[in-house]
């Protein structure tokens, strides 16, 4: 039982910290909105139209594709670090990996994921 005391304390601290901060910012945070403050940009330029403008869903598509391909690079780093000791085996392995990426790329391309209109 006594072993769990620190855990309990930790638990309380974690919840407490989170709740306190959210609560504090809600209570203490000064709310004196002025017209200037509520504009999207406070740097002096008058905003043109609403900031909540719809923008094309294609941005999302590109962003998604970017995120996915971007993250694959993560696997290249460790491979690059130990490239020498992995020798030919590692090279073929990585070629396979890239090959799969190419298939995905081909698929996206043919599906029309990269076309803007």
């Amino acid at each position: 039982m006594i072993n769990y005391l620190p855990i309990l304390i930790l638990f309380i601290i974690a919840v407490g910290f989170a709740v306190t901060n959210i609560g504090l910012s809600a209570i203490l945070g000064p709310r004196r909105p002025t017209r200037e403050k509520l504009t999207p940009y406070e740097c002096g330029i008058e905003p043109v139209g609403t900031a909540r403008e719809r923008f094309s869903v294609k941005f999302y598509l590109i962003a998604m594709l970017f995120v996915v391909f971007d993250i694959e690079v993560i696997f290249l780093y460790p491979w690059a670090v130990v490239f020498k000791s992995l020798k030919l085996f590692g090279f073929i392995e990585m070629l396979t990996f890239i090959g799969i990426m190419l298939v995905c790329y081909f698929y996206i391309w043919k599906r029309g994921g990269l076309e803007w209109d």
């Binding site: 039982m1 769990y4 855990i7 309990l8």
Partner: protein, 641 residues
Amino acid sequence: MLNLVGLILLFPLIGAAINGLLGKRLKKDTVGYIACGAIGLSFFIAILVFCGLVLLPPEARLFEKQLFNWIESGSFKAAAGLQVDPLSSLMILVVTGVGFLIHIYSIGYMHEDKGYHRYFCYLNLFTFSMLLLVLGNNFLLMFIGWEAVGLCSYLLIGFWFEKKSASDAAKKAFIVNRVGDFGFALGIMLIFLTFHTIDFTEVFHAASEGGFAVGNFTITIITLLLFMGATGKSAQIPLYTWLPDAMEGPTPVSALIHAATMVTAGVYMIARCNVLYMLSPFTMTVVAGIGAVTALFAASIGLVQNDIKRVLAYSTISQLGYMFLACGVGAFSAGVFHLMTHAFFKALLFLGSGSVIHALSGEQDMRKMGGLKQHIPVTYKTFLIGTVAIAGIPPFAGFFSKDEILLESLVHGNFVYWSIAALAAFFTAFYMFRLLFMTFHGKSRVDHHVMEHLHESPKNMTMPLMILAGLSFCGGFLGLPGASAIDSFLSPVFGGHGHAEISMSGAAVHQSEGHPYLMMVISTAIAVAGIGLAYQMYVKKPELPQKLAGQYRLIYKILLNKYYIDEIYNALFVNSVKKGSLLLWKRVDAMMIDGSVNGVARLVGWFGNILRYLQTGYVRNYAFYIVLGCIFIMALAAFGR
């Protein structure tokens, strides 16, 4: 020949499959031929198997045919196998024989029904299930058969499901039986825990050799649980209420399932487990007590009922009570003997009543019958034989079996059992002849329109009646007191366990040489007295019943309303739930599915509805449940040890 036993099961199954799958496209005649042919073949094989068994010397009359290893896990083995011994061979003869006659009868009875093929499919399926129940060599197979006959009975009670009363009755039967099945299933589990096997032979061997003292607690619990199953299926107090309602099904079904075969499954099961029951005097007392009370109770309700089939239904419950009484005092073979003769005469009576109903275009109220003797002579004659048989007039079948039970209840039981049984016998004679007189004698009270169509049933309906009448007449000679063929045939199953108490009835008769003949005279006198009273009241002075009913209003009303048991059950299980939550109910009720109308189910369904509100549809709530569950697990893991 014994090896053919598998075929007995196979034929009805094939019949059911053909009729179920192709029946719609087949001609009506073909459907009937297939169904009857299947059972007929099955009956033929059953005779062969029976002969094969008889040819063996008595102590070798146990044949097990292993089909395949069904479930095997660790120490547990359940082989699907069939067991032929005197008890099961007798049962298959009754099931296939009576079943065959009832199938033939059904061809005529159901001829106009649009669900013709469906009916025969269910009926064949029922026969298959019943045979499985009887032939199985372990508790699990028996349980499968047990459940399957329940299912078929459910389907057949609700056969005319367009009628609300029929589908309600089906539901009631199913739910009440569930209660009993629950006990049965627990009993089987306990048997497995105790004996590590569920094979009949092994269990009984272990029970008799395993050093279980008489009165062993576990065995008592097991037998009580099994008996709970039996009370459900065999309609004993307190689970009998479904059987009278089950008369909503077609009449041949009432004859086959709710009189001759399925309802006797409980008796069969107890007889099969006689070794276990002998080890528990307490359970035996319970069985005998409930049997005796049910016999009297149901018979007293039968005194005043006006629906011809309901009288027979209460009579069935009462006769089943006799069988349990016999088992309860250790006279298993007397119980089985009565089971057999009862199958003959009760099937006859039901089919006869079906013939009456058929003749009267569906009328079931005896107050609207009377004087039918001349119009349907064959039905009358056969019905008379059946009535005499059940009333217990020598030398008809019912006399011998009932007399044996009465005798055993005195010799092995006590005077209380005997007097209850004797009173019930008196009632039986009375209400059966009341039925006979009201239906066939006296002035006709039949409606004019119906009168015009009054006709004797076709050949295929009267033939089975005649055959059954023959059996009801001579079936009793198998169990002549002192030289009972049945007793000696069944003795390998019930005797020879080394228990002194089980010196079976044959021996008992020898011990008390003077007794039986006196007893026979007494029981005949009782029957004659009942008949005489009925004659007085319903033929000689037809106004008397009315007067009596007026004089003893209270008793009459109680009896007519079947002791208000249905109402009491409703008040206890259904209404208390209803009233307790009346306010909530109105809101919940709208959302209730119409199926869960019945007490316990409704309660559970009500919880289900409450739980539904947890399912708010909001992701946030769901995530919250996850967090709650997580905290709960943490707490349990950390602080729960």
